[in-house]
Symmetry: C2
Amino acid sequence: MMQPITSPTLLLNKKVCKANLHRMVEKTSAHDLVLKPHMKTHQSETIGEWIKEAGIKAVTVSSIEMARYFYKAGWKDITIAFPANPSQSHDLNELAADCNITVLINSSSVAKSLANKLTQPINAYIEIDTGADRTGIPSDRTSKINDLIAVIQHTQMLQWIGFYSHPGHSYQARSEEDISKVHQSVLSQFQALREKFSSLSDEFEICVGDTPSCSVADSFTGIDAISPGNFVFYDLMQTQIGSCEISDIAVVMACPVVDRYPQRNEIVIHGGAIHFSKEQITQNGVVHFGQLLTPSNDHWELLDPPAYLTSLSQEHGIISCNPTDINNYTIGDTVYIAPVHSCLTANIMERYKLTEGQTIDLMK
Amino acid sequence: MMQPITSPTLLLNKKVCKANLHRMVEKTSAHDLVLKPHMKTHQSETIGEWIKEAGIKAVTVSSIEMARYFYKAGWKDITIAFPANPSQSHDLNELAADCNITVLINSSSVAKSLANKLTQPINAYIEIDTGADRTGIPSDRTSKINDLIAVIQHTQMLQWIGFYSHPGHSYQARSEEDISKVHQSVLSQFQALREKFSSLSDEFEICVGDTPSCSVADSFTGIDAISPGNFVFYDLMQTQIGSCEISDIAVVMACPVVDRYPQRNEIVIHGGAIHFSKEQITQNGVVHFGQLLTPSNDHWELLDPPAYLTSLSQEHGIISCNPTDINNYTIGDTVYIAPVHSCLTANIMERYKLTEGQTIDLMK
C-alpha cells in the first residue's frame, strides 16, 4: 500500500474486494439466492472478471452504455436497473440480439411505447417502491400493478418476469437494527405481492438490491435474487449506516500533501472535487468529504484521533488535523483517505491502482 | 436548443459563451490587464480555440495533465495555478522545454526541492492568501514572503515573476456590494505588497483570478493580470453570488423525463450525481442540485414558478414540481436544468453538445 504516487490515485485492495465479494457469494448460496451484482460501483471489466470467477452469471447495470460495456466483456445476462427509456430502443434491440436483457417498467405508457419499438424479446421487471420514494409503483397499489402486468403480458416483445426494488431508504439507517427494520418491511411487502399475484405465474422472480440490507440481513424469505453493488468496495457512508467495518473498505484515495498551514492546523492535498466527488457526510458533528486512514499490509484503519477532509475545491483538498498531529505531515507525503461514497469516487476517477501495483481501467 | 436527446446531455450555447468571453476581453483591454483565462472550467481544446481567436495568448490551468493537454493544443504560455509538486518535476521539465510554464511556490522547501530537479527554467508566482484561507502566504507575512523571494531568486531554474491569488472568499458574497468588499480588500493587500517589494524588481506581476470579482469590479488598480475561469459558462452559484444573470449561463443539462409521480409532485429524470456532480446550493430555502429552465432561441430563462432538482442518486434525478405544473411533464420529454457549478458538471461529462448540434470533446 505504500506505492509512491505523484497525483491523486484511487487505490484498490484486491484482497479486501475479493473477500467482500466472496462473503456475499457465500451468503447468496446459503440462502439459495441468485446474486446479480450491480456493476455501477466499480464499472470495471477486470473486477467483472473476478465476479465471473466467483461463479456469477448475471449482472445489474444502471445505463445502456454500461450494459454495452459489460456485454462486450462477455456478460450475457444483464439487468438495466433504471426506468426503461423508449427512446433508447435501438440500443436495446442491438444488445438483446445476443444478450438476455431485463429492463424496469413502471408504467403502461412506457410498456406500450417500448414494445412498439422492440424487434428483440426483452424481459421486464416491474419496479416496486418499497419506501425509498424514488421510482417504482408503491407495493400497496396492487390494482395498478395488476394492470401493468396485463399490459406487459399483452405485448409480443416484453416478457414480464417479476418485481424489482431498490430499498434506498436503508441508507437512512444508522445501525444494523435500523437496516433490519427496512429489510423486514421490504420482505413483508413482497410477501403480500407474492400472495396477491401467485395465480398469474408460478415463475415470477423478486429481486432486491441495496447493500445495507444485503450485507446484514440473515433472512431473505420470499426473495429470489439480490443486486447490491457497493458491497464490493464499501465506504464511509456504509460504515455510518452499519453495513460494514472500516477494514472492509476496499478503495481509498492516495493523495500527495502539497502544502501545510500549521497556524490553521490544516494540510492541503492534491485531491479535490474532481477526484473525490462532492458527496458529503456528517460524523462526530463534522461535515466532511473523507476521513484519513493509516495503511497496513492487509487493510486500512482510521487514524486515531480522527482527521477529516473538510473542504474541496476543484483540485485542492483541505484536511483539518489535530493540533498535535500537524507536525506529522510534510509536503511530499502521501495521505490515504476513505471516500464517503465509493461509487461516485470510482466513477469520477479514470483508473484504479491495485495495492500490488498494477493499473485497472474503468469504463469511459 | 430543442435537439432531441435520449440520455443526459451537456448543452453549450456558443453564442452566450462567446459573449461572456468577449465581455471579459473588453474589460481587460479597457483596464490594461492581461487575461489568462482558467481553462479548468471547460477543459476543451475547441473552446480554447475561441479564446485564441479573441486574441488571448496565455492561459491558466489547475494540473500538469491539463497543462499538457493545452500545450498539445498549441498554447505556449501556461500558468499551473496550484502549489507546485516537486515529484512532478519530470513532467514540468518536459513541458517547459517548449512552453513558458509558471507554477505557484508557497514555501522555501518546495522552491529548493523543485529547483534541484529542474533542467528547464520555469517561472514562479508566490501565491498570496488574500482571505480565502485555502493556499498561499497571508499578505501580511511580508518577512516570510521576502525570504521566499530570496530563496527563489537564489535558484538557477526558478524565475520569480510576481504574486498570484485566488480570492475564493468572494464565493461567500451574495451581492455585487459583497463582491466589491472582497475585491477592494484584495486590491489593498496587493497595493501594500507592491510598495513593500517595489525595490526588488520593477517588473513583477500581480495576477488574481476569481470570477465574481473579475465579473463585477470596475477598478483593478495595481493588478496586472486576471485569471478567472468560470465566467465563460457561469452557473447558478454565480447568479447567487451576484456575478451574472441567468441569461449569461452558457451550459445546461438536457435530461429525459423517465418517470413521473403526480402524487408526490415529482418527476424523475435520467440525470444523476454522475452527470451533475453533487455540488449543492440553497435557494429560497430549498437545498438543490439544479434549477429548471425554459429554453429560448438565444438563452435560457428560469421556469416561473421555480422547480428544483432536489435529489440525486447515481443516474436518477428527482425534480420537485409545483402541484399545478406536474401535468406539464410527460415521460419522454426533455427538461433543461441549470447546473449549480458548471466547472464540476463539465468535468464529469465527456462532451458538450452545441445548441447548433455539433459535439465538442473535453480533455479526458
